[in-house]
């Protein structure tokens, strides 16, 4: 009996058997922490900081300022500023600070008189904490509790500075301004219409390519990708040249204007098309021929087959495409900026608040509003696609389309029209960039490519953009591959790896402008140890890598998932360090994927405006931003020229990518049996 008790106690005391933490695991942990820290600093903290800042309100502490005026009878107290605010025509403490952060005595007494009597001098005393603001005399702070006096002719030397409060007043101000809230309805409407159109078009296009025997499929597939290679604002510029008041096709508008919702929808359809097409064609590519066989045997009409087999099979692709297009459109900024006219959208509001009015707090509020639909779309999409079950089981027979003349030619006609429109948009910008003076002198010239005497920084911006694209492609790919490897192949630290995966998925839901604005708050804060990054090329690289992280991460995961876990097991049993495994096996296997990710980063770094438009400095101006600024100043032809320069660079990059992939294919002989 006592033995038994002793035995149980001995067992309880014996140490639990735990896997020994080896060098590899520690290394993996270090990498997990490094990548995790990167994502926390470049994503989570800035966004949280911005949320915090959106509740910061500037206000004057009227009641903390006592005032005395001298109208000839010596200093006479008039109480605090709160007592005389109405009399002096001041707005409420918050409204006044919204107008300007400081208030001079000259503004209090513009006529240098009090109650009609001419002033000799004014004295003020400030008794508040640092959060209440400050009183300055001739540019130097006056100690709290000390009187500061200025003669009447020097009233503007006495300056009261606003303090900060924490409240939801910014949000209240937002919702009480119908000009701003109108943008919510505008953005939703434009996004829904765009989504409906794009999903229909992309489905038709993808259907033609994967389910018919029409000719020139490869060509169509290439043309469908063209919009990815240009900044989205090119679509806006081309629309102006096509359908503007001097447009080539303006007669087709029957007097309607391109500036407004119609133009925005048309431009967004152009640049979101390839995204929807890619997703839907992937969905259509995997389907089980046995289902169609069964349908045929049962003599189902083609129409019924379409609605009961084809559409349900592609439904997750369609849903996913719809959410992606919706998110891209509602967060889009280039197209509405160029062609939106007076039709306001949320993303443009952020830009106007931050750049136009330097009202960062209101910019943060609009950002939070814009985050809501983007985040909701993201989570709904995740939940829906998580329910997807594999259509292509081991026993499935891949579907191969059969010749069907009417269908093939109908599909060919449809795809030709869509591809023709895509090329038309790019072609018109190229034409406009090459003519001397639109629309009066259409002779050709390269003068707009000189970028002399235009805004935006010209060729210097182009070379900066190339630099950014290269850095982003190289560094981004490495970070993403290592991050993906940890998430997919790591052992242990489940919580850390899940957290990492979550962080890697988040950028998808964060609009570029919002990320950029959060960087201003976070990195421009002087107490931030990373403050030195502000205004450098490095911060542009970081923001671009983070902005496009999710798609790269998913691509890396897909490639890594295809690698059997047994490789790791074998390597471990052969006592090979994880680093050797990674460099000798994982990296070579993932090289083609790495190349894809690098190309993705390169192209996006050249075309993105939203993630960098708040962050560039005089020495780091960028090509796509330059195009935006040129358009702003009315230099639209040079703006088109810059967009086309980006297009050709990206085309060349895709060419290099294709060649490298082919070269790599020779090293991937092991893939074939």
């Amino acid at each position: 009996m006592s033995d038994a008790v002793l035995g149980a106690a001995a067992i309880a005391r014996a140490p639990a058997i735990r896997a020994k933490v080896g060098r590899d695991d520690r290394l993996m942990l270090v990498f997990t922490l490094v990548i995790g820290l990167y994502l926390v600093v470049s994503l989570a903290l800035p966004i949280l900081f911005m949320l915090w800042k959106s509740t910061e309100v500037r206000a004057f502490a009227y009641s903390a300022v006592e005032m005395q005026v001298d109208t000839g009878q010596g200093p006479t107290s008039v109480g605090t500023l709160a007592d005389v605010a109405g009399k002096l025509g001041l707005l409420s403490d918050v409204d006044q600070a919204r107008r300007a952060n400081s208030l001079t005595a000259a503004q209090l007494f513009p006529k240098r008189a009090f109650d009609g009597a001419p002033l000799k001098s004014v004295r003020m005393r400030f008794s508040g904490g640092s959060a209440d603001g400050r009183l300055d005399l001739s540019g130097k702070p006056v100690e709290a509790g000390q009187w500061a006096e200025v003669p009447a002719q020097d009233l503007r030397r006495l300056v009261l500075r606003a303090g900060t409060q924490r409240s939801l007043a910014n949000y209240a101000a937002y919702f009480s301004n119908p000009a701003l809230t109108q943008s919510i309805a505008n953005s939703l409407a434009v996004s829904l219409i765009t989504t409906a159109i794009v999903v229909l078009l992309a489905f038709g296009f993808a259907y033609g390519l994967s389910r018919t025997m029409m000719p020139l499929k490869g060509l169509f597939r290439t043309i469908a990708m063209v919009p990815i290679l240009v900044p989205s604002l090119l679509a806006g510029i081309s629309l102006v040249y096509l359908f503007g008041n001097q447009g080539l096709l303006k007669d087709l508008m029957f007097g309607a204007r391109i500036y407004g919702a119609g133009g925005i929808v048309a431009g967004c359809v152009f640049f979101t098309f390839p995204h929807a097409f890619l997703i839907i064609s992937t969905a259509l590519a995997v389907s089980d021929a046995r289902l169609y066989e069964a349908a045929r045997v049962l003599r189902t009409t083609p129409r019924r087959t379409f609605f009961t087999v084809t559409l349900p099979g592609a439904r997750y692709g369609l849903i996913s495409a719809a959410f992606v297009v919706f998110t891209l459109t509602i967060t889009e900024f280039g197209v509405p900026k160029v062609v939106g006219g007076d039709f306001n959208m949320l993303a443009v509001d952020i830009y106007k608040q931050v750049v136009g009015q330097q009202n960062f707090a209101m910019g943060a509020v609009v950002s939070v509003i814009l985050l809501i639909p983007a985040v909701v779309a993201f989570f709904v999409d995740r939940t829906v696609t998580a329910r997807q079950v594999a259509l292509l089981t081991a026993r499935a027979v891949p579907y191969a389309p059969q010749p069907n003349r009417p269908l093939d030619w109908a599909a060919f006609a449809f795809c030709s029209v869509v591809a023709g429109l895509l090329l038309l948009v790019v072609g018109v910008s190229q034409f406009a960039a090459l003519v001397k003076f639109w629309p009066y002198d259409l002779s050709l010239s390269f003068q707009h490519y000189a970028f002399e005497g235009v805004d935006g920084g010209g060729w210097g911006s182009y070379f900066n953009s190339l630099q950014l694209a290269l850095y982003t492609a190289i560094i981004g790919t490495l970070v993403v591959l290592v991050g993906g490897y940890i998430v997919e192949k790591g052992r242990g630290f489940v919580a850390a790896r899940t957290g990492l995966h979550f962080l890697a998925m988040l950028p998808m839901a964060i609009p570029g402008l919002v990320l950029g604005l959060s960087y201003i708050f976070f990195f421009n804060d002087r107490s931030n140890p990373f403050n030195f990054l502000y205004g450098t090329m490095a911060i542009l690289v970081v923001s671009t890598i983070t902005h496009f992280y999710t798609v790269s991460h998913l691509t890396a995961l897909t490639a890594l998932k295809a690698m059997d876990r047994e490789f790791e097991a074998v390597a471990a049993s052969l006592k090979q360090p994880v680093t050797r495994m990674f460099t000798r096996v994982t990296l070579p296997v993932c090289l083609p994927t790495g190349l894809d990710i690098a190309a993705y980063y390169f192209v996006n770094a050249l075309t993105t405006v939203s993630a960098v438009v708040f962050l560039y400095a005089p020495t780091t101006t960028l090509a796509a931003v330059a195009a935006l600024n040129m358009d702003d100043a009315g230099q639209i032809q040079p703006a088109a020229a810059m967009c086309m320069l980006i297009f050709y660079t990206n085309l060349a990059a895709r060419g290099v990518h294709a060649v490298l992939t082919r070269v790599l294919a020779s090293t991937q002989a092991w893939r074939a049996r």
Binding site: P110, D136, G634, I636
Partner: protein, 342 residues
């Protein structure tokens, strides 16, 4: 053709080389400016020829944005100096105590209307720009419309949807239009005029140049802009005439100042010296009709010669003091123009 290609390649190489070379050799001077981008390389060259060893780094944007940026950075100024920005805006910065007092060499030659009231002054103007209309003759003929000659003409119904003007909140040109209407017509009539004009405005642009470039391409045939841009688009071959409305036009001084607390004050002083120097005046004279030193004024091709006579009375202090109120009122009335006109 081939020579053109070669020289272009040469130009490209020069750009690359100068990018590599300019980084380390000279002291950088960060200069905020609202001057037209076309002129910046010319100014930079003239200044750097005279003061080798100082390298200007421009931050260029519209007047409203440069002003807002400077105000936003008040506690942590990034600019060393401001060049060629509306005097109304610099007066605003001066009211906030952000400008350094400095009397540049040659100050005595400058028209006192172009200098701030302090001694030594906080800002000094080099030249002035004035509102003007750019009107596309081809498009007006197509529509069988007369060229408008006055501000009052612009409010006539036949010009509905044909006029573009800059947003006064972001553009200095837009603000001087609004401020001059209010000063010329008085508060009540001024706002009434803007209400009437608003009915004809197709869109409010961000920059003051854009209305004129839009008029040049005929996108919108009438642009309320300024005389410099009008002369420029005409020289580029645009079918445009410049109209200086007969009631008088708003104007402002392109003024320069040193930002208080800059670590590069010596170099910033050199910039202000240069800005009012004879060398600089000779450059301004090619583009601007009205100079701080009237001795250098010359007629500008494509510009009416009587523009100086048509300048309205402009009180910078009044304009600076009322800027916030005017912009507030303007935004409330016209800024929320979310429904597309027509």
């Amino acid at each position: 053709m081939r020579i053109g290609m070669i020289s272009r390649l040469g130009g490209l190489a020069a750009v690359v080389f100068s990018l590599l070379a300019s980084s380390a050799l000279a002291n950088d001077l960060t200069v905020y400016t609202a001057l037209e981008a076309d002129l910046l390389p010319i100014y930079k060259k003239s200044f750097e020829d005279r003061y080798p060893g100082v390298n200007i780094r421009w931050v260029r944007d519209s007047t409203g944005i440069i002003t807002a940026k400077l105000l936003a950075e008040k506690d942590n100024p990034q600019a060393d100096a401001v060049l060629g920005t509306a005097a109304t805006s610099l007066q605003l910065l001066d009211n906030e105590g952000m400008l350094e007092h400095y009397a540049p060499k040659g100050l005595d030659k400058i028209d006192p209307r172009f200098v701030s009231r302090d001694t030594p002054p906080t800002w000094v103007g080099a030249n002035a720009w004035a509102a003007a209309l750019c009107v596309n003759t081809v498009e007006m003929k197509k529509r069988n419309l007369a060229i408008p000659q006055t501000w009052a003409d612009l409010a006539r119904p036949e010009y509905k949807g044909l006029i573009v003007m800059p947003n006064p909140a972001s553009s200095g040109t837009g603000f001087l239009d609004v401020s001059s209407w209010l000063q010329m017509m008085g508060d009540e009539k001024g706002w009434a005029y803007m209400e009437a004009l608003h009915q004809n405005i197709a869109t409010y642009t961000h920059s003051g140049s854009k209305p004129c470039t839009l008029a040049a391409s005929g996108e919108y045939p009438i642009g309320i802009s300024f005389e410099f841009r009008a002369a420029r688009v005409m020289s580029q071959g645009a079918p445009v005439v410049v109209v200086v409305p007969s009631e008088g036009v708003g104007w402002d001084v392109e003024a320069s100042a040193i930002v208080k607390g800059t670590p590069n004050e010596d170099d910033a002083r050199k910039l202000i010296d240069w800005a009012v120097s004879d060398d600089a005046m000779k450059i301004y004279a090619k583009y601007y009709a009205i100079l701080g030193n009237a001795a250098f004024e010359e007629p500008i091709p494509n510009l009416p010669t009587d523009i100086k006579a048509k300048l309205s009375k402009n009180d910078f202090e009044w304009a600076a003091a009322h800027r916030a109120d005017i912009l507030d009122a303007w935004q409330k009335r016209f800024g929320a123009k979310s429904e597309a006109k027509n």
